[in-house]
């Protein structure tokens, strides 16, 4: 307690913590959905619900609602509810529409269609290819002029393999462009133009294939051992021609540059997703299981995308972009990547909600306009203050000095409670305020009990300080018992009720606990601070009740 008081006094920034207002006070919507999980096995229910909760929260976040509250509740009858509280939301209708949509899961592949010429990517592509052909022309001129071909090849050939025609021809290991002995059948594109050249000559034009521009030198030619076909020893300098797919591969670090195109495969084809661990190295993977149609589609997609990326999109955003290693049949796939077990779990959860969209239906909604809330607050706060003023007046008139002290204690009680409401923080609802006002009544009750007892003890002839002591100690059991019962009621309310009543119960509970402290501890110490002699002299300050005995000045002064 002392701690809280200290915080309140010494830390100036506490002032800046606003009360957390409930929906009824600041306006907003509470939406309650019922999730239909009947079709799910028991074990998967909580995962699915957690997934739905998360999806709803993400969707709400798009609306810019501050601190949305989304909870999953199990009702007594065993159905599941998802409660979303959107404070200060403007367009509830739109929010309801957004939340109600089932999560959208899509599989996409890299588009091999030329990108839109107007797009930045297309421009970049043209530029790259222009650079490439310019360089090819320059090198050709040098080669024709008689510069060392091997040196040129080493300077310009790229380390990667160059796919030419149907056969993948790899550039010589030292990048000297040596293609070795080839026949016309194997590589007609390169052999045909150069086969009539003399040995050691460079072809004067650039040979353009699908993937690259080539400068080719015929090193040697000979008749094969079968004496029928010629084979040619070629040396090649190649300059790649970039396609959209290449650009995509280059930019794969930067997903937004990829031109993703939709496939027909979506979340409705997914049977389920689970987290597995790779038996070899123990890394987490997410296994997907498709239904029959999905399996077929998936096979087609993987067949045409070997070595390329496919992407899994959730609600329009790529959540995973694995690379296809081989054609996948049988409708099962796994997404491996550098994710942690936690991330894998999350992904599986998201996929499952996309695939098994637990149907949710709106069963209840409550919307409070902000203006109505404000009016209620103003009225209620005013009512509370008026009530308090009357109580204070009553206490002072009836109990005189102790009454005044108890009003001080009450003010301290108010400060402590409000500080706790802010720091905890307790969400303030209208009924919460009612609970707070009520707890003030209970705080006063404790003091009344004590003061009545005090008067009684005085009547019985005790001297003042003894009467004060006994007044407090004798009143304690009934204060304790009565407050305990109130706490019992509060616990039941917190456990059993809707959020509105919960607010009431929480503030009442806190109020009762704090008031036990202030009404007894604070008031008692105030009374002790007063000089006993002084109090005895001005006996009328305490009560009009006179001691039966002669008033003897107390010897034991505190």
């Amino acid at each position: 307690m002392a701690n809280v008081t200290k915080n309140y006094v010494t830390l100036p920034q506490v002032k800046d913590i606003p009360f957390r207002l409930g929906l009824d006070l600041q306006g907003g919507s509470q939406l309650i959905y019922e999730a239909d999980v009947k079709s799910l096995p028991e074990a998967e229910k909580s995962t699915a619900l957690e997934g739905v909760r998360e999806v709803i929260e993400r969707r709400i976040n798009i609306f810019g609602v501050s601190e949305p509250v989304v909870q999953v509740n199990k009702t007594m009858s065993g159905s599941y509810r998802i409660i979303a509280e959107l404070a200060g939301i403007k367009d509830v209708q739109e929010a309801i529409k957004m939340i109600g949509e089932t999560p959208l899961l899509e599989f996409k592949e890299v588009s091999d269609k030329p990108l839109d010429t107007s797009s930045a990517d297309a421009k970049k592509l043209t530029e790259l290819n222009k650079l490439s052909t310019d360089q090819a022309k320059k090198v050709l001129a040098q080669a024709v002029k008689g510069d060392d071909f091997v040196a040129l090849a080493k300077a310009n050939n790229q380390a990667q393999s160059v796919g030419v025609g149907s056969d993948a021809l790899t550039v010589g290991s030292e990048n000297d462009g040596d293609l070795g002995w080839v026949t016309e059948d194997v590589n007609s594109e390169l052999v045909k133009p150069v086969k009539f050249l003399a040995k050691g000559q460079v072809y004067k034009n650039i040979i353009t294939t699908k993937t690259a521009s080539h400068i080719v030198k015929l090193e040697d030619k000979r008749l094969r051992s079968d004496k029928k076909t010629m084979e040619y020893h070629l040396r090649d300098i190649s300059f790649p021609i970039y396609t959209a797919a290449d650009l995509a591969a280059v930019n794969s670090a930067n997903d937004s540059n990829i031109n993703w195109q939709s496939t027909q495969l979506t979340g409705k084809h997914l049977k389920r997703a689970v987290v597995n661990f790779n038996p070899n190295d123990g890394t987490p993977e997410v296994s997907l299981e498709f239904n029959d149609e999905g399996a077929k589609l998936f096979e087609q997609i993987t067949t045409r995308n070997i070595g390329k990326q496919v992407a899994i999109f959730l609600d329009g955003y790529p959540i995973s972009t694995p690379t296809v290693n081989e054609k996948i049949t049988g409708g099962e796939a796994s997404i491996s990547g550098s994710f942690t077990a936690q991330e894998a779990k999350l992904l599986a959860q998201r996929l499952n909600t996309g695939a098994l969209p637990v149907p949710i239906s709106l069963v209840s909604q409550q919307t409070v306009g902000a203006s109505l809330g404000q009016q209620s607050v103003d009225n209620s706060v005013r009512a509370g203050l008026i009530g308090l003023a009357i109580v204070a007046l009553f206490m002072i008139l009836f109990y005189r000095l102790p009454g005044l002290l108890s009003v001080f204690a009450l003010v301290i009680y108010g400060f402590i409670s409000l500080a706790i409401f802010k720091l905890w923080p307790v969400t303030m609802t209208l009924s919460g305020i009612a609970g707070f006002i009520l707890s003030i009544g209970m705080a006063v009750d404790a003091n009344i009990l004590i003061f009545e007892r005090l008067k009684e003890e005085l009547r019985n002839g005790k001297d003042l300080s003894k009467a004060i002591e006994d007044g407090f100690s004798r009143a304690w059991p009934s204060i304790r018992d009565s407050n305990f019962t109130t706490m019992i009621v509060c616990f039941v309310l917190i456990e059993f009720s809707t959020s509105v009543i919960k607010g009431f119960a929480v503030t009442l509970l806190l109020g009762v606990i704090i008031s036990m402290f202030t009404a007894i501890f604070v008031t008692r110490n105030f009374l002790k601070l007063m000089s006993n002699k002084w109090l005895t002299k001005y006996h009328w300050l305490i009560t009009s009740v006179k001691n039966k005995k002669e008033v003897v000045p107390a010897t034991e002064l505190k």
């Binding site: 309650i32 019922e34 009702t75 007594m76 159905s79 209708q93 709106l362 069963v363 209840s364 909604q365 409550q366 919307t367 409070v368 306009g369 203006s371 109505l372 009016q375 209620s376 607050v377 009225n379 209620s380 005013r382 009512a383 509370g384 008026i386 009530g387 308090l388 009357i390 206490m395 009836f398 209208l430 009924s431 305020i433 009612a434 009520l438 003030i440 009544g441 209970m442 006063v444 009750d445 009344i448 009990l449 009545e452 009684e456 004798r474 059991p477 009934s478 018992d481 009565s482 019962t485 109130t486 019992i488 009621v489 509060c490 039941v492 309310l493 059993f496 509105v500 009543i501 009431f504």
Partner: protein
């Protein structure tokens, strides 16, 4: 006693007018522009939607519509109809015709608050409310039986618990009866906060009862008088306190009833009535019950 019987009669003949919290349904509060339509115009405007058990009630600056359907679809349709009615009565002034936002601002139509509760939720809440009240009653009785375990003469401590239970039951019935009357006469509906109010009344009433019992607990061992007189003395000793406490709480509640926001008005009223009779029952019901019980035992 007369009140108690009357309350039971009220409850059994009229019953409580349950709010949509319990029955399911919709409550829509809308504000119209400067030219307010009347009740008939409002109900006519939504006639085509064939709303079940529609009621339209004018409020200070607004209209409150209640109907059985609770779907979002119906809600939007109702809003569209009402807005059309309002825009017809409050045409947009020519100079204000601009973007659609300014149009909305000038016609003065506003949805103040909407609650739509599915029937399943309502039933669930009813069950919850009843079980909460029963649970509280039992918990309090058990606690009192425990707190007074040391006072077993001349009557057993559990009898204090039972006496409290009877007093609490009496309070609950009177509050519910009072609201049955309000529901009949002014159409006051009870909602979830009414349940909270009843539960709070139980808490308060038990305060009073405990204070008296506590005095009995203290007086009994050293009392030279018989049981009946001891109890009588205890009640008298705590009388001022009981009345003063209830009065301070009722001051606060009264000010909420008179000046507070409309949504907690009936909440405070329920508390007010409950606390008044709670004080009454702890003085005139719970303690005398102990005496009656004790005398009964003697006769047998």
């Amino acid at each position: 006693m007369v009140l108690f019987v009357t309350a039971i009669v009220f409850i059994s003949t009229w019953g409580l007018k349950l709010g949509i919290d319990f029955t399911g349904g919709s409550l829509l509060e809308v504000k119209f522009g400067a030219n307010k339509p009347n009740v008939i115009e409002v109900s006519d405007s939504v006639k085509d939607l064939k709303l079940n058990s529609l009621s339209v009630q004018p409020s200070e600056n607004s209209f409150i519509l209640r109907f059985q359907d609770s779907s979002e679809d119906v809600h939007q349709k109702v809003l569209v109809s009402l807005k059309k009615l309002n825009d017809g009565k409050n045409p947009v002034k020519a100079e204000n015709k601009g973007t659609s936002t300014t149009v909305v601002a000038t016609t003065g139509f506003e949805e103040l608050n909407f609650t739509g509760i599915g029937p399943s939720i309502g039933q669930e809440l009813q069950k919850k409310a009843i079980s909460a009240i029963i649970l509280v009653l039992i918990a309090i009785s058990l606690y009192i039986s425990y707190a007074f375990r040391k006072v077993s003469k001349p009557i057993a401590s559990w009898k204090y618990g039972v006496a409290t239970l009877i007093a609490l039951f009496h309070d609950t019935v009177i509050v519910i009866g009072f609201f049955a009357l309000l529901g009949k006469v002014w159409g006051v509906e009870v909602n979830t906060s009414f349940v909270a109010a009843v539960l709070t009344v139980l808490g308060f009433s038990v305060h009073d009862t405990i204070v008296v019992f506590d005095r009995i607990r203290e007086n009994l061992p050293k009392s030279a008088d018989n049981f009946e007189d001891t109890i009588n003395r205890s009640v008298n000793q705590t009388l001022t306190r009981s009345i003063n406490t209830s009065m301070t709480v009722m001051f606060v509640l009264m000010s909420i009833v008179l000046f507070g926001g409309s949504s907690i008005k009936y909440f405070a009223l329920a508390l007010f009535v409950g606390i008044f009779f709670g004080t009454y029952s702890s003085i005139f019901l719970a303690s005398p019950l102990l005496v009656v019980w004790n005398n009964l035992k003697k006769k047998i």
